[in-house]
Symmetry: D2
C-alpha cells in the first residue's frame, strides 16, 4: 500500500438503473483493491426524475444528484462522464462530453447504428489527440478467465485459430407474459438479443482471437411479437405502464449467424433470451491447430484449455480455476479458489480505464473497436433481411 | 427368459471394416439381453479381399465368408442384408437386396445423393408392400438418453419447441498430417463432415423434436486441402498407399448452418472434425416453452432436462443418469449407474429392427426418413454454393 | 430505495490483514445493495504497526487508524467491534468489547480452546440480556447456495437426513517449501486445517442439517513438519523473517474424521491444505430419505438437489443456479446467472448482523453456536490423541 | 487379425444371476476384439434350478447346463471355473476347482472371512506352482480410466502420494421398502456395503497407489433394520418369497473409515447404498506431491489429472477422455470419444486372464491380493466393534 493518496478523478454518471448501480459499485471499489494513479470520486449522478435520482445518489454513494446531464458535462470540476443510459442517447451524451474535454466510459453497444458509432469514433479519435480518452464497456473482457483466454491465444498456445463457436443464452423472455421493456423497443435499443447480448460474444470472439469478422450469414427471429405493458421486469429495466395494454416487440428474440473472419477462421454465433434454463451462458469455444479454449460464464471463474502438444495419454481439457496470483487481476482479490462474481469485470474496467488515463495512454476497447462490433451487428441485420445471404462487414 | 428358442433370422453383412465389426457385435449380442421374436444368425460376411474377409468372418463370428455380394444376395437362405460399405455402393446393394426380397439394414448416410436416396426409398416402399422391410442406421437415436429425449418432447414436457442447437465435434483431422482416407474423397463419401457426422445431428434434431428442417443457410469450409496418402488412420478406414504421395481433399472439413423448421422452430448446426480436444461431442440442446433438454455424447449416459414448471427455487437442469429400469432399453442391461457404451445404440438398433420384422411392422428410421436427412444435406450444399442464401429443403 | 438515510452504526475493526480487507469491503458495500436499519460507518481500524495501520485505513476506507485496540473499545462513539485478528487474541478483545457494551462480530474459529469459547459465550449471553449482540463469522452460511440448502432441509424436501459427507480441500501448503505462517503455529492458530477450514464444514454440516455432531473418530496428520521462515505467503498471512531459518509446524496438515450426530445421522469429514489442484473445494453432500443435496464452493453459485419424489424417469441432480430473485439474498444483486463471488457471503453477514441489531434480536451464528463447533474441534483432537477412539462431544 | 484360430479354453461358470450374465458376455466377446492366445468356449453353466439353468444356458450361449457343480469340476474337458455365486460358497468351489487342476476366476469379495480367504490363497499359491492360475474379479481395475490412473502413479506423475479419498455411493436401498436380498443377509454375503462395494474402493485405492492399508478407524451403520421379503429387486439378486413377511437386515448399510497406509499415506473411505441420487459413484481421488487424480464411475470414460508441474497459469484438472489409442485397452474398441460401458471391465478381465494363462504367468489380482482386501474388511469390522479405535490390518 502506498503512503500518499493518489489525486482525485471526479466522475459523473448519467443513468440510474441496473448498469448505474453496477458502475457505482465499480467506482467505489476499484481503488480499494488496486493501486490506481487517480482516486475515483463519485461526484454527480444524473437522471430524469429528481426523486429517484436523489435516492440513487444516496444509495449508490454519489455526492450530488442532477436532472440535467448537459449541465453536469459543462461543469469544470468533472473529469469523466460514465454513460449508463439506453443506446439511443449514447451518441448525444458522448459527443457533448468529449467536446467538453471529459474522458468518457460508454456502456455497450456503443450506439444504435453504425452512423452514430462512426460519428462517436471520429469524435473520440479527435479527443484522444487532445489527451481526452474514451472506452466502451465490454466488461466481459475483464472477466479473468476471458482475459487469460486472450493471453493464451496471444502466447501462441492455440497455434493458428480455425474455428470459433459462441453462444449467449438467457431465458428471461421465454415466458410470453414477461412484460414489454425498452430493450424490446427498436427505437430505444437498436436491436434485441443481437445488440444486447450478441454484441458481447462478437466482442469476446474478436478480442480473444485477435481477429475480426469479415462477413456473416444471419437469421433473426422474433418468437413473441406482443407483450403486456406492465411494470418492472426485475433488474433488467422495464418501464412502468398501465395493466391490460400490449405493445409490439420490434426487435429480434434470437440472432443466429455463421461468420468468416479476415484470416480464414470460421465462426458460428447464437444469441437468445429464450433458452429456457440458461441464465447467463456466455459461451466461447476456440479451436486452433495446437490447442483449444472453452468458457461459459455460468462457471465464470473457470477457463478450459486443451493443449494438443501435451503427452498423448494425458491430453484433456484442463479446468483452470482462474483465481491464482499468476492470473489476470486476481492477485488483488481473494486467495485461490475463492471465486469472483459478475461485478469484478466492471471493477477491472475501472482499474484499466483509470490506469490508462493516469498513464496518458488510450484505453481498450476504444470506440473504434466498439464500432467494429457495431458494423458486425449491422451486417447481421442486413444479411437477415436479405435471405441470409453472406454479407460482408463494411470496414 | 423364455423356454423355446426363437426361429432364426439369417443375416449377411456386406463390409468388413469398422462398422462391420460393430454391427457384428450387435448381431451377436442383441438376443443375449433382449427377448427377440427371431434369433439372429451370423450367416455370411462379404468383402472384396478373400483373405481379409475370411479373417473377418473368423474374428467377428460369421459362419461363411464371401467375395461376391451379389451371390450372397441371391441365396435363398439369407433373410437380411446389412450394408456396412462406403456410401457410393449403398444404392446398388440395397436395390438388389430389396429386389431379392431381403430385409435391409443400411448404414447412414443412406446414399451419396438425393437421387440415389429417392430411388432407394421408392424401392423400400415397394418392398414394404411385400412384407420386406428396410431401416437406415442412425444408431444415435437408440442411445437411451436420446430416446428419452424424444419421449419427453412427445410427452409435452418441453411445451412448444422454439430452438435447437446441435453440434457434432471431433478432432481426428485437426492434425494436417493425418492421412487421406475414403472419407475425404467426395466420389466415395459424398461429402465430408456434413454427411459423415452432420447427418447424425440432423437426424437427431428431427427425431427428438418430431419436426423437419424446412430450409437452411450454410457455410462449408475445407481447412486442409491436401493430405498424405499413407496407410491406415486408426479405426476410421484409411486406405493403404505409398509414402510421399499426396491427395486432394474434395470434401468439407466443417459444415455450419442455421435452419428453419416446418413449424417455426429455428436451429443452428455445426459439424466439424477439427475441434481439437472434442472427441465425439454429439451435442443437442432443445428449448421449448415449458422445458429444455441438453445432451452430449461425451457423457452419453446422461440427459439434462430443465423443467420450467417446477417450483422456482429448485429449478435447474436435472442430470438424469439414463440407466434406470424405467428408461428406454436399460432394464435389459446393468444396474442403475453402471453405464452403457457406444455399441449399445447398435445393439438396440438390431433389437428394434428384429422386433419390427417379427411383428411385420415397418421399422424406423425408414429409408424415407433417411431421405429426409439426405435432402437437408443437399440443401446445405446448395446454400453453401450460393453465398449461404437461405435454401429450402426440397420435399 | 428509501428516502431517509438510516441512522449510523459506527464500526471499529481490529486486524488489518486479509480478513480485514474483506470485512472492510462488506462494511462499505452492504447498505449499497440492501436496505438496512442502520448505516455502517467505517470509523476506526486498529492494528499493531502505525504505518501499516494508517495505510490500511486509507486503503480500506476507515476514517481513523489506531494502534491501541483497548482505547478504541473504550470510545463512546463506537457501536460495534469487528475482530479480524488471529484466534489467540479473540477472547481478550471480545470480552473487553462486550463489557464495554459494544456489539461484536468475531471471525471464526471463535477461540483457540473450548475454555476460551465458553468464557466468551457466557459473556455474550450476559451481554445479550443488555441488548448487546454477538455473532461469529461463519460466512459460508451466507453463500446463497448454502442458505438455500438449509432452506430445503427445513422445508422437508430431503425427508429424514441420514448421511453427510463434507470436505474442505485446498492445496496451498502442498509445496513443502511454502513458508511458515502463524496459521501453522499452534500457539497462534489453535490448530491447523482442523480449525482453519475444518471448522467451516463442521458449521456448514450442522447449519444445513439443523442437527449437531455428537461424537467423532478422528485422524490428524502433519505431512510437512518444518518449513522455511521466509516472508509473506500471498493473501493468507505470513510473517516476515530472515531467509534460511526453519520453524516447526505444530499443527495438523489434514484432519479426517467420521461422526455420529445427535439424531442418528452419520457423517464423514475431511479438511486438508494438501489436496493438490483443489483450490477452495468446500464440499457438502447430504442424503435424506426423500432427497439429497450437493455443494462445492469451487462452483459456488450452484446447489445440486436430487428430488427422490419426482417422476422416476426424470429424476436427477438438479443444477440450481442460485441467482434467481426467489433465492436467498440474490434479488438485491445482479440478474439471474450473473454470478456472485466469495465476498458476498461477508456482505450478507453484515446485512444479517445489522438487520438483527436494528431489530433488537440476536443474530446467528451466536457465540453459543460457534462454541458448539469449538467442542467438535476439541473432540476431534482428543480422539486423534486417543487412537481415533470414538469420542463424545462434550455439551 | 491372425489367420489360424487359437486353441480353445473351455470354461465352466458356476452361478446364473446378474454376474453370470455379465461374465457370459465377457467370455463371448473378449476374443472378438482382442487377439487371445486361447479362444474361450462357453462349455457349461451350473446352477441349482434345472429349468432356470437350462434357460440361462440358452440365453447366455453356454453349450450345456448342469445342476451339479462338483460334477462339472470333475470333468476332464473343462479348463477354467468361473465362480459367480454368493460369497459363502466361494471357498468350497474354488478349493475343489484348484484341486482338480482348473484355473479359477472368482468374483469378489474373495470370501466371507479372512480365514476362508487365507485357505483359498494357500490353495491358489500351491496350484500356481503346478501351472494352475487364479484371479479375483475386481473388474473396476480394468476400467481404462482406472488402469491409466495406476499407470500415471507408476510413472511418477503424482510424486509421493499423500492422501486418498474414496467413495462408493449407490442408492438402491434408500427406499426402506426395497426388499430383503441375500446381499443383506450376513450368512450369505459376509457384510453389507462394506464387502459388496467397499471392497471395490479398497482394491482400487491399493491398486492405483501401489501401497497397502495398514490400519483403519471405522464406523458401520445400519439405517433400515428390517425389510419386506418380497420378490426380486431388479438385477441385484433378490430372493422370491411370500408377501407380508419381514426379515432382519444383518449387515451394514454404510461403512465409513479413515485409514493409514504402510507408507504414511492417509485415506478416507465411504461405502453406502443410501446416497439418494448417486447410482454407481465409484469415486477415487489421489493427491501426491506433484499431481492429483480424480475418477468417478458415473463418468467412467474420464480420468481427471492435475499436473502440478505444468506452467502455473494453465494448471487445472485435465479431463482426459480415456478412449484414445494410446490408452489401456481402448485401441481395440471404438474411435476416440465413442465411450465404453460397465461391461468392458469384465471383458478386459477375461482378456488379461486368458493372456496370462496363455503365457504361463500369474494373473492379477491374485487371491493373495484379494486376501489383502479381505483383511482390510476384517479390520474395519473389528474397529467398528471396538469404538472405532484404530485397528491394524493383520498381514
Amino acid at each position: 500500500m502506498s503512503n500518499s493518496p493518489a489525486p482525485a478523478l471526479r466522475v459523473a454518471m448519467i443513468g440510474t438503473a441496473f448498469m448505474g448501480a453496477m458502475h457505482s459499485h465499480a467506482w467505489r471499489t476499484a481503488h480499494r483493491f488496486f493501486d490506481l494513479p487517480l482516486t475515483p470520486e463519485l461526484a454527480v449522478i444524473a437522471g430524469r426524475n429528481p426523486e429517484s435520482t436523489a435516492a440513487a445518489a444516496r444509495k449508490y454513494g454519489w455526492a450530488e444528484a442532477s436532472t440535467d446531464w448537459r449541465e453536469v458535462i459543462a461543469r469544470d470540476d468533472i473529469d469523466l462522464i460514465d454513460i449508463c443510459t439506453p443506446g439511443d442517447t449514447h451518441r448525444e451524451i458522448a459527443l457533448a462530453a468529449l467536446a467538453a474535454g471529459k474522458h468518457v466510459l460508454c456502456e455497450k453497444p456503443l450506439a444504435n447504428s453504425v452512423a452514430e458509432a462512426e460519428e462517436m469514433t471520429a469524435a473520440a479519435e479527435e479527443a484522444e489527440a487532445r489527451g481526452v480518452f474514451s472506452m466502451c464497456g465490454f466488461s466481459y473482457r475483464r472477466t479473468p478467465a476471458l482475459t487469460l483466454a486472450r493471453q493464451l491465444v496471444a502466447e501462441g498456445r492455440l497455434g493458428t485459430v480455425r474455428q470459433v463457436r459462441a453462444q449467449y443464452l438467457q431465458d428471461w423472455l421465454s415466458d410470453e407474459n414477461a412484460p414489454m421493456t425498452w430493450r424490446l423497443d427498436k427505437t430505444k435499443s437498436g436491436s434485441g438479443s443481437l445488440g444486447d447480448i450478441g454484441a458481447h460474444i462478437i466482442d469476446a470472439a474478436q478480442f480473444v482471437t485477435g481477429t475480426d469478422i469479415a462477413g456473416v450469414s444471419a437469421l433473426l427471429e422474433t418468437f413473441v411479437t406482443r407483450r403486456p405493458v406492465a411494470g418492472e421486469h426485475v433488474g433488467l429495466g422495464g418501464s412502468g405502464a398501465t395493466d391490460g395494454e400490449y405493445a409490439d416487440v420490434t426487435v429480434d428474440d434470437a440472432a443466429l449467424f455463421t461468420a468468416r473472419f479476415t484470416d480464414n477462421t470460421v465462426g458460428i454465433f447464437e444469441a437468445t433470451r429464450f433458452a429456457l434454463g440458461r441464465k447467463n451462458a456466455v459461451r466461447l469455444e476456440v479451436n486452433g491447430t495446437l490447442g483449444s479454449l472453452a468458457f461459459d460464464f455460468e462457471d465464470m471463474n473457470v477457463l478450459e484449455f486443451f493443449d494438443g502438444t501435451a503427452p498423448a495419454h494425458t491430453q484433456g481439457f484442463q479446468r483452470i480455476i482462474v483465481t491464482e496470483p499468476v492470473h489476470p487481476y486476481t492477485a488483488n482479490w481473494w486467495p485461490a479458489g475463492h471465486g469472483l462474481g459478475y461485478e469484478h469485470g466492471f471493477t477491472h474496467q475501472v482499474v484499466d480505464l483509470v490506469t490508462a488515463i493516469g498513464a496518458g495512454t488510450a484505453p481498450s476497447p476504444s470506440f473504434a473497436e466498439a464500432l467494429g462490433v457495431q458494423r458486425v451487428l449491422d451486417a447481421v441485420e442486413r444479411s437477415s433481411a436479405d435471405h441470409s445471404t453472406f454479407t460482408p462487414v463494411f470496414r
